[in-house]
Amino acid sequence: MRQAVYLFAALLAVAGSVAADSIKLQQVDRKINLNSQFARITETVKAKNVGEQPVSELILCQQLNAGAVLSFYKVVDATSKSELSASPKVVEGAPADAVCHSVKLTLAAGDVATVTVNAVLAKAQVPFPAEVTQQDPQLMLYKDNVYVLSPYQVSAQTTEVVTPTSNIKSYTEEKPVSKTDKKIKYGKYDLIKPWTTKQLSVHFENGKSFKHMLTYVKEIEVSHWGNIYVEEKYEIKNAGAQHSGSFSRLKYAHAYNGKGNSFRDLRAVLPASAHSLYYVDLIGNISSSNVRKTLSSTVLELELRYPLMGGWKVDFTIGYSVPLTGFLTRTPAGKRRLSMDLSTPFEDVFVEDAIIKVVLPEGASGIEAILPYDMEKSFETKFTYLDTTGRPVLVLHRRNLASPEHSAKFSVDYSFGAVHTLREPLLLITVFFGLFVAIIAYNRMEFTITRDEKWAAARDREVLATYMEQLQALLEDELTALSNLTRLAGSLKESAHVDSAARERAAGEKRVKDLEDRVKPLLAAVESRSARVAGQVRDVLERSRGLQARVGKLLAERVEMVKKGAAVSEINRKLAPSQEAVAAARRELEGAISTVFGAY
């Protein structure tokens, strides 16, 4: 197995050396920008195919000193501005600390191509001295190759190093070299052989803050009820020169240079629609932050719990919500597409280890991620509020992310039936329904083991209550019927209406009769259980009959007077006492009903 690998590597090397002979770099202009915690390298490479065969790849290399990582690497065709695919490759003859990329590029014999390389190196600036006290300036040492490291011969090249301050303690003097305020220019160097190395080292002051996120975990949780929750957990470290000796708050607050290489502020650019922001850590809120809303974004300015001197660490969590609009769309194929920012919203930070978790709603399937750059993918299941089968979680992992180079959108496509959004409400409805049904069932069931007198008494009481309830309903109906009759009497004014009134009266009285018939068996049943209660009921019935008689009498008198043709006012006057008596009897009956039946 191992031999096969060696063989393969050898073959690759042969292929590489073959290509090296046929390509020559005519002009390379390199710019190393050290004006941040990174080393940002831009190279413009003009390559010519001097062989007879067309070549399909171009090898570009970069030297890394110990500990440095190549965070970002991008090659663009200078003429067409299109990005060329670059893949890491082991090249024969390269120094051990070099990283080479093979760039896909077809170059016919004699053709010239110009490409631009953007590389971001993290941890390439090494604090020197490694430890400083609170008021010392932070000095950095950057090492690279004076010449562009290349498997090809380079005809002409220049290198420009840009430092953040003009305080440059030392730099490699490989002539021709010139230094102006914040710039060191190397070259132009002519006819440099392949793999020529000569160490370039620049020692300079860099007051920029070295914000390293040791770990970064972002969780995006999609709810199809209208919200996307984003929570980001950070552990941040000041990766600049280590703070040594004591930390004096007095100097920090008042002395010139007292803040050293520390930093406390961070700035994050969140989507404009972000709301419900929070900024906390393990032990609660961190009460020093500020949010500004602009049209295109929400800017979150936060202060860490304490200023981070060199080497100090702290953790924090930020979270916010955004609505679905603008982030969740449908693809033409009918799938859902979630588009979000992939990396950290903080500016000018280096993320050593990033994990992005996308929690999709329960029932999502066919999950595919569309990523701007390679990441490790895996899947998990997460259970949160009221979940039954768990939510599918897409986990993306990558090390060494630079901001802002790696800030890009990514998308996740998945299929999701809208009916799944109803799962949780249905679950709740079912549970509560079941609960109520169980309670209803419980109330109807009997759990007594022994049927003793207590049980019998309770049962009797219950049965009695049922009868009483029915009786009450009948009596109330009767009361209504009687009051209808009373109203009928009141409305009778002309003799023409007498006949119809008589009909209605007959109907009403029949109804009362019916009701009374129905009362009888119930009364008998009550009688059999409690004579006392039956007595009370009979008392009520007595009152009811009294009322009935009074109403009948009132009606008869009225009919008679109307027939005689008496004036309405006179009728009313004459019948006032009977009317009064009816009303009183009615009240009495109502009172009796509520007294007797109220207890049941």
């Binding site: 708050r249 660490k313 949160t384 207890a599």
Partner: protein
């Protein structure tokens, strides 16, 4: 009508639910005004143990030996903690997570106390409805739901034992009184179970185990001895003691310490009394007298023997077999004389009279009326309320913390008083309105009906309440026909009084809301001060410093501070501490106190011998935060001096006996480590930030020594407002004094300091 009755019942339950919601929500001011965070000191320990429980499980917590505290001794957490609260929160956490509700354990802990306040309101309702009537029960539930004294210990975030223990306390009383009323063995078992929960939750269970025997003896004395009392009391003592023995923190204390002897005495007396009454029934009076004189004679002899044995056993112990804290209760001057650690805690001081008004408001005035009301219709249950109220008043007078025990008692008594008052007012008002509204012609029959109605309602009540009402001396004002006229008050008087009661209740609510919102909601780890624009400026220094310790020191580093901050350091900074709020080892605390009160060199060697790497002090002089270490310093001196006689309190005071840190301050004081750590660099800072060089804003005068130099300690962190200052103990003292210190005077000072 039936519907009306149902509506009445529904509104009753609705009121009860409303009271529960009120009890829960009035305690959320701390979350709304500040944040959902654990408060104060002890809750941080409970929170940490709960975290451990949820992470490691039940048995691991039981066996947990915590090496992060009391270095190098450590602490057996399982055996020294009342686990009720922790198990409660852990169980709630488990249940929530079983249902996939991913609440963080901190949220569970924050909301435990408000939840149990709602339960406490329910138990109070139960207790008073057993003792008097459901209406009075509702009032009691309402009172206890918002009583400030209880709020002070149970706001959201106050994750302390008292949060569940007060519920547990009232719950035990409720089941006990229910058993006394019903005589059911099932209720007795529930009493025992709730007593078990109480013992698990709080050391205050000894109040129960003394109050219930007292009640039992009172019942025997007043001739209220019956089978129901026996069913209630005997299982509680027998099984309850067994349960408390099996809780490690109590263990054999439940049979060995004097706190529990009263219960056993009452147990014996109860049996004797029952035996005597049995024998008296069996024998003729003559024979009984003979037997009695015989038995009493031998019993006196045997009793004297037993008593002398018990006495001898008790006298062996210097505290007469009482624990220190109980001793403090029996003899309020005990702690200040012998146990400075107990005395140094502000909540162990006797309360000032105004805190009764502040914490209980109008209930203080109503409670005595409640006692009278209980006596006016004395039942078994109301006798209990009276005893509870009287004993709780005594204990609250000894320690401000025990106001908590008093609060439910006062609420119940006040509810009884107020409900009696309302009953009289409303019933006379009701008969008045009925009479005035109905026409005279049909006057008599409806009144009969109304009377019948109330009578029936009363009968129904009686059925529910079982025994207590049967014993009522009879008759209620409206029960008999002539009675209403007897008690009837003029309508105007009734209405005025009703209005006054309502106004009083409103005032009470207003006061409680004010107390909850403004007085008891501050989490004390975050301070706020209002800014001119209405917003608040936040002082978050404690968490700033704890976070610094957590992230920027070695995980095994030992941190020394005064014991107040021990729990917070272990919980928030996750670092090993030397002493913490458990205060179980006085000499260890005294060592730290001694180091703080010694000079720099000596303190350095003490700390080195304890492997301490960091020392921090809390300092309020820059922003005017009064409860800082300089103000606590005299306690450090006293506690240190209690074990190490070389520390003498008078060395730290001016000749007049004043405690000052200005130029008149004692020399020992100005040379002590505490002074130096607090005021290092302070003079320059105050000059630059306030323009007044060296003015301490808490003490209000310039400090005694402006130029503080440290040779053995090194400032490694100071929080933004200087409230917390962390120093590293140097590996080696500075041998080579700094150039400035080379000047003759300074060198001499350094030399004298070292000598």
């Amino acid at each position: 009508m039936r519907l009306q009755a149902q509506l009445g019942e529904a509104s009753f339950y609705l009121a009860l639910t409303g009271i529960c919601v009120l009890a829960f929500s009035i305690r959320l001011f701390s979350v709304v005004k500040y944040e959902s965070v654990i408060h104060e000191f002890d809750p941080y320990f409970n929170y940490r143990v709960t975290q451990f429980l949820t992470k490691e499980g039940f048995y691991d917590m039981w066996n947990w030996f915590d090496d992060r505290t009391w270095y190098p001794l450590g602490r057996v957490i399982g055996g020294t903690v009342y686990p009720g609260l922790i198990f409660t929160a852990g169980a709630m956490y488990r249940i929530l997570h079983f249902l996939h509700i991913p609440l963080h354990v901190q949220e569970v802990c924050v909301f435990t106390a408000p939840l149990f306040s709602a339960f406490c309101a329910l138990s109070c309702y139960g207790l008073v409805s057993q003792a008097r009537s459901p209406g009075a029960g509702l009032l009691a539930a309402f009172f206890v739901a918002i009583v400030p004294s209880y709020i002070s210990r149970s706001v959201a975030g106050s994750f302390d034992n008292e949060g569940v223990a007060i519920f547990a306390l009232v719950n035990v009383f409720y089941w006990f009184i229910k058993t006394v009323n019903t005589g059911k063995l099932l209720d007795a078992m529930l009493t025992v179970a709730s007593y078990g929960y109480m013992v698990m939750s709080w050391g205050g269970y000894s109040f129960i185990i003394n109050l219930l025997p007292l009640y039992c003896l009172a019942c025997i004395f007043f001739g209220r001895l019956n089978g129901r009392l026996y069913v209630a009391f005997a299982p509680l003592i027998a099984i309850g003691t067994a349960i408390s023995c099996s809780i490690p923190v109590v263990g054999f204390n439940a049979v060995l310490m004097s706190e529990h002897f009263g219960a056993f005495l009452a147990f014996v007396v109860l049996h004797l009394a029952l035996l005597v009454s049995y024998v008296r029934r069996m024998l003729s009076p003559k024979h009984f007298m003979l037997l009695a004189s015989l038995v009493v004679g031998t019993a006196l002899a045997a009793g004297a023997l037993v008593a002398s044995m018990v006495f001898a056993y008790v006298m062996k112990s210097p505290t007469l077999g009482w624990t220190g804290r109980s001793m403090t209760l029996l003899d309020p001057t005990y702690a200040s004389r012998f146990v400075p650690i107990i005395a140094s805690v502000s909540e162990h001081q006797p309360p000032q009279w105004n805190s009764y008004i502040q914490d209980l408001h109008m209930l203080v005035a109503l409670a005595p009326a409640g006692i009278l009301a209980c006596f006016s219709r004395l039942t078994d249950a109301s006798l209990f309320l009276v005893l509870y109220g009287l004993t709780a008043v005594y204990f609250s007078g000894v320690m401000i913390r025990l106001m908590l025990v008093l609060a439910p008692a006062v609420c119940c008594l006040a509810a009884v008083a107020l409900s009696d008052l309302l009953y009289v007012l409303c019933s006379s008002l009701r008969s008045f309105t009925l009479a005035s509204l109905l026409p005279t012609s049909i006057d008599t029959p409806p009144e009969n009906g109304a009377a019948a109605e109330t009578k029936e309602a009363k009968e129904k009540d009686a059925g529910e309440e079982a025994t207590p009402t049967k014993k009522k001396p009879k008759p209620r004002p409206s029960a008999g026909k002539p009675a209403p006229k007897l008690y009837q008050l003029p309508a105007l008087v009734c209405l005025t009084l009703l209005g006054l009661v309502l106004a009083l209740l409103t005032l009470y609510v207003v006061h409680c809301i004010h107390a909850s919102a403004d007085m008891y909601s501050s989490p004390s780890i975050v301070l706020q001060s209002p800014r001119p624009d209405g917003s608040n400026y936040v002082f978050d220094d404690f968490r700033e410093a704890y976070a610094w310790l957590r992230h920027n020191t070695h995980p095994e580093a030992k941190v020394a501070s005064w014991w107040d901050y021990g729990y917070q350091t272990t919980a928030m900074a996750n670092r090993t501490v030397i002493v913490d709020n458990n205060t179980w080892n006085t000499s260890h605390i005294a060592t730290v106190g001694r180091a703080m009160s010694s000079g720099e060199a000596k303190a350095w060697s003490i700390y080195r011998s304890l492997d301490v790497e960091y020392v921090f002090v809390v300092f309020g002089g820059l922003v005017g935060y009064p409860s800082d270490d300089i103000n606590k310093f005299l306690w450090m001196v006293r506690i240190g001096g209690g074990v190490y006689p070389e520390i003498k309190e008078k060395d730290y005071l001016t000749p007049d006996g004043d405690y000052r840190v200005d130029a008149h301050g004692a020399k020992t004081m100005l040379n002590s480590l505490m002074y130096k750590l607090s005021y290092y660099d302070f003079a320059e800072e105050s000059a630059l930030s306030t323009g007044q060089r060296g003015i301490d804003r808490v003490r209000g005068y310039p400090i005694g020594r402006m130029n503080v130099k440290l040779n053995y300690f090194e400032e490694v962190f100071t929080s933004q407002h200087w409230m917390m200052r962390i120093y590293r103990v140097r590996d080696q003292p500075l041998r080579d004094p700094t150039p400035r210190a080379k000047k003759a005077g300074k060198a001499k000072a350094a030399a004298s300091r070292r000598g």
